[in-house]
Symmetry: D2
Subunit: 288 residues, 4 copies
């Protein structure tokens, strides 16, 4: 987290000799000042792949974002990179989805209003209207999109329309208690972030705290992950746990769990927004 | 945390044979149903002292709170107890103090509005007016009481008046950046709860994250404690830490720290409100 | 953990009014000094059940263990208790099972030789002979009992014989890489303690670190549990986790995991040996 | 942790444009395969400084260690680097110091015998002879060097002589309860590693668990740090904590503390041995 404006290059490519030299050489030729850089070589999953993330001070470069991308393109092609460059001065546009639980919503709005999360929230979408007035008090538009269990399509068409209309970058399911349809998962890969209230892969699906209570585990957790068509199976971004004991009822676990959920969601979302998360198959590289 | 109404007896007394038998015998004679009970014998600090906390189902007893107290009095006197009995149906009245940081305030109000914290908040008091409209949106009165560094007395007279007027039970300093004068500490022992942004006793006083940064620690923390006349020296209720590393600036530490501060304050406050905290000299017994 | 000799009563029974009064009244009549006491009421699993554990100073009672048991019997029968009373002066006899990994064995023997674990270790049993000389150096008999995959019965007959011969109280599977046959599980319920190298219920069975690596979890863990005929499904005593990230290979996870395994096993074993663990269906009450 | 042989370059220098390009360019020219690389820019302590650590596959380079150093020298001089290159095939020589507590010694020897710690232990030095036979059983020489409180110089002259004789790289004070004299600290900067049984800077000096008990903290910890002439003030390498509560005596805290001490020492030592720790003033950069 830097106070100056910077560009973030994140990329992955087949591993070979000279990647760091090629990329850092290009930046050095332009007199670019590297604020932070992280590299990772993954050779365990059948064929090596190389991951990197660099933050370069914007005013140390002799060009702006568009030209940076243009000049970097030949290197990226030579290296067969998946890549992107983002500008810290351009705020990401994050649409929050919520149902009837308040903790993640309050937490995200507190971080947003203090600029800890330096994002735009073009709107909040909910299948209930419980938080309409609270959201609007913050000056953020609120859309109540009820989901009819017998005809979910209409609702998701509306969600899709709203998200496109506000030119959203990321959807955050802040305890949004609806299953996202496969078509929407496919339309926005790596853009939909969910917080699941268990330490996955334990306790997939509904009522994970009840499942945890029945099994008698001694820690409960939460998992922030990208949403894919397979329920609760997407790439994991962040997880954490908290200790419980025999005296804790399901209601106590729900209460403890909320604290973990909001912390894990906030951390996972920040990693995502700062382009620290690179997806690799069904796993993630997270450069903290 | 029980859904039924219950009475909570918390007490300490010199240790001797038969305390549990005497207290539980009295409750059993009345056919009282014990929901939860905790005991602790402390024999390490020069003379043994016994601590206990019992939750008794209200409708299992043949009398109400006043008569419970009256009937228990002879036992308490015989045992030389410090004791109290509270009723889960009577909400505690908690006054929140805040300055210019939002995280603990948002967090407490989220817990209050969802009834996780089942309390009355008769007012919020601040030396700034930054959160006036946010607090009032929740239907809670907000009092701006500026503190003049050259004449703090007037401000604290007003704080005192407001607290008495609303018949407060507890003051929560939710990152209230003012030192409470000794007279007020003395007037409300065990009623003023602070969250300090370090893992005490390290980094007492101002700018603890700067101190932590200079020392190069690998974990930072927060401490919830009762306020006494000695700055940051009161009995500790709850603490926690989070891992940092060399790449974290002071600004990063402040950001991580907020998450620990609000979690530790919320846990400590709940223990206090449920009469789980018994002060013993400058330490606490916390029956979780 | 007390330096004086004490008796530990642990019991569970159907919940009703007056249990604590009855038990503590009995002890008070004998002028018994209660060092520590814990109670738990479980009303969530269909019918209330009450759990308790008390430590009573041995020399405060006018009788010894046998008479304590005899006098307590009528109360236990009246309350329909499952109960036992043990004497801190009688060391438990713990047989350790090990295969080819050293970390839990070294850890347990270090705790034993410093008397942190105040137990007898009448022998160590292994399906390999790797640690024969190390164990014998400590003055502990070592039995090499190879397990023939085609005829496990002979091996387990020998294990059974050895355990009976040394009058063992507890078997500790300290990374013993063999599945205990159902007949032995049935013969010693609540006596066989295993350390599983995952945070159960995730990653049951073989190679849990490989499973964790494939799923891309951000924390790995270990679970100490009682062994039952259902593999890795027995009542959980203790669990813990440690953070990993994308840069950690399976080999790194194995290394991190060892530290969690030995800590979790040591804690779970201590709870068991101090009669702090009461089994309730497939769950445990652990009075720490 | 890689299975192949590799060279580790660790270095720091004044920050400027092009450091990564220069270093990685040099390696790429030699067709060196980078297994792992970490970079950190510290601009907060008056003047920017750059830190780096690279692991390069040994057999991808056309030369051996001596020539690697020779060829790298001009770059290092141009950049004004503090630097070193080590070879994973050359085991570090670690001398362990111990007094009368066993837990860290057992733990380190378990890791050594399983090759998790892939080091030479040329000898163990102690001011007591409690562990002589245990150490010698492992085939490691044991030197009993009593420290006379009235004439410590003779003892430290002998320690110095032994350390030089075995050509030690690192001294590990594994709960060695003696204060290292300033002259020895000065002779081996960044080579002497201590484990202190508190979460520094809290509870410096003697009996930290007693101090923690008196203050009533809710977590206790341990700190692994380099030894300097200022007692318990050296650069911190690693720390961790564990939760305690009011029921824990000093003896319980000592017991819990041992588990944290050995884990923190093992992690800190591994970071040091793998050249992951770069000292910066009185702080450390630790590339995990």
């Amino acid at each position: 987290m830097h106070s100056q404006r910077y560009y973030t290059l994140s990329a992955s490519c087949p591993d070979r000799v000279g990647i760091v030299a090629r990329v850092s050489g290009f930046i050095a030729e332009q007199h670019g000042w590297i604020l932070e850089s992280s590299y990772h070589s993954d050779d365990a999953n059948g064929g090596s792949r190389y991951f990197m993330r660099l933050e370069v001070k914007a005013d140390s470069l002799p060009f702006h974002l568009a030209e940076f991308r243009e000049r970097f393109l030949p290197i990226a092609e030579e290296m067969q990179m998946d890549w992107k460059i983002s500008d810290s001065a351009v705020k990401k546009r994050v649409v929050i989805f919520v149902s009837q639980q308040e903790h993640c919503l309050y937490d995200l709005l507190a971080r947003w209003q203090s600029k800890e999360l330096d994002i735009e929230i073009p709107c909040v979408i909910s299948n209930h209207d419980a938080f309409k007035s609270f959201v609007e008090w913050h000056g953020i538009p609120f859309h109540h999109v009820p989901v009819n269990p017998d005809d979910k399509e209409a609702a998701y068409a509306e969600v899709h329309r709203l998200y496109e209309e506000v030119r959203g970058d990321t959807m955050v399911l802040a305890r949004y208690m609806q299953i996202i349809p496969p078509a929407m998962c496919a339309a926005y890969p790596g853009q939909i972030i969910n917080i699941h209230h268990s330490f996955l892969p334990s306790f997939v699906g509904a009522k994970p705290y009840h499942q945890a209570y029945q099994r008698g585990v001694k820690l409960i957790g939460a998992t922030c992950h990208y949403v894919t068509a397979d329920l609760d199976q997407g790439p994991i971004i962040e997880q954490d746990v908290i200790r419980i004991d025999h005296s804790d009822s399901v209601a106590d676990m729900v209460r403890y769990g909320k604290d973990i959920e909001k912390a894990v969601l906030a951390r996972g979302l920040r990693y995502h927004l700062e382009d620290r998360v690179l997806v690799h198959g069904n796993k993630t590289v997270v450069f903290r």
